[in-house]
Structure formats: structure tokens, C-alpha cells
């Protein structure tokens, strides 16, 4: 695992124009980085902009501001021309396994084509053995190559989609909600596959999801997103025990536990605001149980709270160690 990040995102912004209405800053300045062999989980609820971020990172969306660097090279959005060869090693797996494979072509043909484009050779020269090797790497049998996508289940199609991404010999794969359309056993199997692949092939993975519980199992680091911005980044081992941002705390509290104790999950007040008109100051303040005056007026920066963690919350101002929000709020209240 080399030290330079394989993928670096700096102050990325993505803006959607809407007819007759205000433009929407779906991504309002996000920075993150991933190294080879590392798995980053990007977690957030509907409307937080995580899918838009994923697409902008690989070049499927236009950027309004900021940079994306893949292996040191600037990544430009796709134009009509072919993507630069080096950048094909930045790959993507999409959410819906039913629409991410061409329904009218056999699996083998699609994988063969992906392999051919990676090595720049003519499609016919890709050997069957290489297609089989790809399929087996994702746990599919060789005879899958003869079949069409509709003959497979969701979990199997997702494996095939991963195989297609692997055909490009990637160093970074961005996966946009790869588990959301799958049933529970398929989720577990694909999750385990991704972890194994990351280890075997020294892959950097950016895993986008709304399911914090599963993600936290798979990833090394979790980045939490709310309304277009990152509110916290934390190693997954520390996430559950010590969330530093009130939103992360609320997310964790609202996940129901199957422990047989009839305990209602904690609900978060209010609704997610319209991204075209975000609240003033800290975007989360209208729903935050610890909101202070400062939060309504000034947007908090990304505080480095030590141990490789970041939290964008005024409660962490001046922290050298991550502070539990409830404790930090109580301490501040006492001081006043």
C-alpha cells in the first residue's frame, strides 16, 4: 500500500440548473482521499448528494468547482471523445444491477469488450480464459458467459458488474449504492466479495451507501455527508462508540437494533431542507439538538479533531481529541 492517495477530491462542487427555479448545489465543497488497499465509505441519506458526488468524481457529471485527481492526474468530465487510457483505471459500479448491464448482449461479450478496451487490443483477441478468470474472481461460474443478464439474480448481476469494472485493471473503484437493490443474503455476499477484492488486488474502494450498519462492517473509514457537505470522517472502528458530529450521532441512534429489547429508535426532528435553499450557518442547525447561536450564523469549518478524524461542528472547536457532542454541549453550557 503506497502512501500517495490513489484518488484525491478537493473542494468539489456540483451544481444543477433547474428551469425556472434556483440552481441546486448538490455537492457544496467536499474533500476526501483514498489510498490503494483502503476502503472509504461515504454515507448519507436521500438528497445529501452522495450519488452526484460519485458521478462527478469519475467524470460523469460536470464540476462547478474543485478538483479530482486520480493517481496524480487531473480527472476531466467526459466529453464525446474517449476517456484518456490511464483514467480507465478509475472505475464505477452502479446501484441498479438491472440497468447497469446491456440486456441484449451476452455477459461474455460484454466482459470481453471491457477487457479488450483495457488493453487497447481488438475484441476478438481476448481469450476465453481471461473472461473465465474474471468471472471466477467474482465467484461466478465460467458458463455464465453464455447467458444474458436477465437470467441472473440481482446479486449475481452485481458480481458481473464488479467483474466488468475489474476488467479495466482499476486501482480505484467507486461503487454507488451497490448493495441497496439486493436482498439481505446477497448484500452480505457482495460485501464480503468487495473486502476480499480490495485485499487481493490492493484496490481503493469508495463505497457509497445510506446503510451505515453494513458499511461500517466493510470499510476502513466512514465519511458522513449531509446536504452536500461532509460533516464527519472517522475510522469505522471508532464510529459507533464515539461519533463526533450530532448528525452522525442521530444516524447511529436511529438504527433499530435486533436485540429483542423493545426500544424505539431516536427520531430526528424536521425534514431535510431543500438543497437549493440550505439553512444559514451550519446546514444541520435547524435539526440539531445542541444548536447554539453561533451555529445559526457561521458555517463551521472542518475541524481536525485528532486521530485522523474530522468533524464540521462548532462543538469541536479547539478539540485535540474528538468530543462527544452531548458532553461538549453540556461543558459549554456550564461555562456560560
Amino acid at each position: 500500500m503506497s502512501d500517495a492517495p490513489a484518488l484525491e477530491v478537493l473542494d468539489l462542487e456540483v451544481v444543477y440548473e433547474r428551469r425556472g427555479r434556483d440552481p441546486v448545489r448538490a455537492v457544496a465543497g467536499v474533500s476526501l482521499s483514498v489510498k490503494r488497499g483502503q476502503i472509504l465509505g461515504l454515507v448519507g441519506e436521500s438528497g445529501c448528494g452522495k450519488s452526484t458526488l460519485a458521478r462527478a468524481v469519475v467524470g460523469l457529471e460536470q464540476r462547478a468547482a474543485g478538483h479530482v485527481r486520480f493517481e496524480g492526474e487531473e480527472v476531466a468530465p467526459l466529453t464525446r471523445r474517449a476517456r484518456p487510457a490511464q483514467q480507465t483505471r478509475l472505475q464505477m459500479v452502479f446501484q441498479n444491477p438491472y440497468s447497469s448491464l446491456n440486456p441484449r448482449r451476452r455477459i461474455g461479450a460484454q466482459l470481453r469488450e471491457a477487457l479488450a478496451m483495457a488493453v487497447g487490443a481488438d475484441g476478438r483477441r481476448v481469450s476465453d480464459a481471461r473472461v473465465t478468470e474474471l468471472l471466477e474472481r467474482v465467484g461466478m461460474p465460467a458458463n455464465a458467459a453464455e447467458r444474458y443478464p436477465h437470467q441472473f439474480s440481482g446479486g449475481q448481476r452485481q458480481r458481473i458488474a464488479i467483474a466488468r469494472a475489474l476488467a479495466a485493471d482499476p486501482s480505484v473503484i467507486v461503487l454507488d449504492e451497490p448493495l441497496s437493490s439486493l436482498d439481505a443474503s446477497a448484500q452480505a455476499q457482495i460485501a464480503n466479495l468487495l473486502v476480499a477484492l480490495s485485499r487481493e488486488l490492493d484496490l481503493a474502494l469508495v463505497l457509497i451507501s445510506h446503510d451505515l450498519a453494513i458499511v461500517q462492517h466493510i470499510v476502513d473509514e466512514v465519511a458522513v455527508m449531509y446536504l452536500g457537505k461532509l460533516v464527519e470522517t472517522v475510522p469505522s472502528g471508532e464510529l459507533w462508540g464515539l461519533p463526533a458530529h450530532p448528525y452522525t450521532e442521530a444516524l447511529i441512534g436511529s438504527i433499530p437494533r435486533a436485540d429483542g429489547e423493545r426500544r424505539l429508535p431516536v427520531a430526528l426532528e424536521g425534514e431535510v431542507p431543500d438543497p437549493s435553499a440550505p439553512p444559514s450557518g451550519c446546514r444541520f442547525h435547524p435539526r440539531c439538538p445542541y444548536a447554539m447561536d453561533r451555529c445559526r450564523v457561521e458555517e463551521p469549518p472542518a475541524f481536525d479533531v485528532g486521530r485522523g478524524r474530522m468533524a464540521a461542528c462548532w462543538l469541536q472547536d479547539g478539540a485535540t481529541e474528538p468530543r462527544r457532542p452531548a458532553e461538549a454541549a453540556a461543558a459549554l453550557a456550564q461555562r456560560v
Binding site: 460523469l60 461466478m140 458458463n143 439474480s153 466488468r164 466479495l193
Partner: protein, 299 residues
């Protein structure tokens, strides 16, 4: 890491296939498509073999005029003493190839323009679509009448007029398919692997456009037949003595008491158009199994 075998139990396989892909089996179980194919097949055979099976020369004015159907003349004779059965059979050689030509020309022009509009976008798209709108603003038959009347009534001009009138539907459908398939995730994945937009168009988009085009062609073949017959009926298409069904019906309306003169050519038009409509419906179910008529069989 536990692997899943690719083989699913047959019932599950069938359900998945119905949900997401083509269902080649079900088309053949649709009785209307079978009937359509049978009738269309019959007409095609007639069109090919008419000179061999028609009892008399379609142009020969040898017989008693306006004779009712009899054993000598199964469909009777017309106002000039020609055998109507022979003329109806000969008419197939006239109408069917013209309808096919019409569909081939308008389909090709429309498809090409649709692909260009969808792929290039911008002002080119705008111009093509406005042209399409312009043409579609007029009822097809009216516009065709204007063109043939100004160019002079003839078979060639009728086909030309109908091509001008018919291309927009193909262009619109193809353009919208190109745009929507172009957004499909598998096309985006293809681009991410390093395909240029042109290559993605050729390899991923166009093959998926073929199916809907085939359906359109089958359906508009029926439409084309009817339009050709209509123009001839109005005297703007095939000119006498060509045995075109539409003009035969037209003449027949002036001899209402001799019902056979309009009825048999009319039946020919009716059965041929119906047959192609059935085929078009059946093809649509083959290529778009999610449509409700295809789903009608499952609980």
C-alpha cells in the same frame, strides 16, 4: 467466499425473463400474430405468383361489363369488362412492394435523422425536430394530396409524397431512444472503460434501437398500404389502367349497385392492413414484453 451457481430453477428463470428481457416464446402463442402472418404470407405469395394464378389478363377488356360474380368470374367484372379477381390478385404485386418501398425509404431517412438529432444535439437537433413538427402538423393524407397534386398524379409521386409525410415518426422515436439509451448505465459504463461517444453509439445504443424500429416498420407498413390505397382512391396515385386496389374501390363507388366492384378490392385492403397490424402487435410484444398485452397471461 461462497459462490453462487448460475443455474436457477426453471420457474424462477421464467419469472426473471418475463420481468426483464425479451420473451420469444410468447409471441407464437398469440393467435392474432399467427393469423396476421398467415394472411400476410398468403398475400406475399400471391404478389409473387400472381401472373401464374390469375385466371385472366388483368388488363384485358374482353368480357361482359359489370357482370356479377359467377363461376366464370369469381369476383365479377368491372365497368370495362375486366376480370376483377385477376385485377385484385395483380393488385397485390402493385401495392405490397410499394408499401414496402415506402416504409424502407421513410424508415431509413427517419432513422438516420433521428440518430443525428439524438447524437449531435444542439441546433442540429432543433432543426430536425422542427422540420418533423412542421410535417406532422398536417394530416398525412392532406399533405400527400398537396404534393401529388402539385407534382402530378402518379405512383412514383404518391410514394414520394408519403415518404415526405412518414419520416417524422421514425425520427422522433429513434431520437428519443438514442437519448434515453444514451443515459443508460450500461452505456455510461462503456464510456468509463474508454469508449468514445461514437463507439458507444455504434455498439451499445444502436443495437438496442433496432427492436423498436422493427415494430414501427411492421405497424407502419399497414399504415402505408392504407395511405397508398387512399391516394389512389382519390386519383392521385396509381393511374388507370393499373390495377391498384384503392383506385378500384374508387371506381367501384360510382357503381354502387354493382357491389362486387368495390367490395373485393376493399376486402383485399382490409385483410392486408389487418394482417400487418396483427404482426406489428405481435412483434411489439416480443420486443417489449412489459407491455400490458404481453403480461395479460400471467396472474
Amino acid at each position: 467466499m461462497s459462490a453462487q451457481p448460475a443455474v436457477l430453477p426453471p420457474s424462477r428463470l421464467a419469472r426473471l425473463r418475463r420481468r426483464a428481457g425479451t420473451s420469444t416464446g410468447s409471441a407464437w402463442r398469440r393467435p392474432t400474430m399467427v393469423i396476421g402472418l398467415a394472411i400476410a404470407g398468403l398475400w406475399i405469395l400471391i404478389a409473387i405468383g400472381a401472373p401464374l394464378i390469375e385466371p385472366h389478363d388483368p388488363l384485358a377488356q374482353d368480357f361482359a361489363i359489370t357482370e356479377a360474380p359467377s363461376s366464370a368470374h369469381l369476383f365479377g367484372t368491372d365497368e370495362l369488362g375486366r376480370d376483377i379477381l385477376s385485377r385484385v390478385l395483380e393488385g397485390a404485386r402493385h401495392s405490397l412492394p410499394l408499401a414496402l418501398l415506402l416504409v424502407a425509404l421513410s424508415g431509413t431517412i427517419g432513422t438516420v435523422l433521428g440518430v443525428v438529432a439524438g447524437y449531435v444535439g444542439g441546433w442540429v437537433d432543433g432543426v430536425i425536430m422542427r422540420l418533423a413538427d412542421l410535417v406532422s402538423a398536417f394530416p398525412a393524407i392532406v399533405l400527400a394530396m398537396v404534393v401529388t397534386a402539385s407534382l402530378g398524379p402518379s405512383t412514383r409521386n404518391a410514394v414520394l409524397a408519403l415518404v415526405i409525410v412518414s419520416w417524422p415518426i421514425y425520427a422522433r422515436v429513434v431520437r428519443s431512444l438514442v437519448l434515453s439509451i444514451g443515459q443508460a448505465e450500461y452505456v455510461q459504463a462503456f464510456r468509463l472503460h474508454g469508449a468514445s461517444a461514437g463507439r458507444a453509439m455504434r455498439k451499445e445504443v444502436l443495437p438496442n434501437v433496432v427492436g423498436p424500429i422493427i415494430v414501427l416498420v411492421a405497424i407502419y407498413l399497414a399504415d402505408g398500404l392504407l395511405l397508398l390505397a387512399s391516394l389512389s382512391f382519390l386519383g392521385l396515385g396509381a393511374q388507370p389502367p393499373t390495377p391498384e386496389w384503392g383506385s378500384m374501390v374508387s371506381v367501384g363507388t360510382q357503381y354502387f349497385q354493382n357491389w362486387w366492384m368495390a367490395t373485393f378490392p376493399g376486402l383485399a385492403i382490409f385483410t392486408a392492413v389487418l394482417a400487418f397490424n396483427f404482426i406489428g402487435d405481435g412483434l411489439r410484444d416480443v420486443f417489449d414484453p412489459q407491455s400490458s398485452s404481453a403480461r395479460g397471461e400471467d396472474a
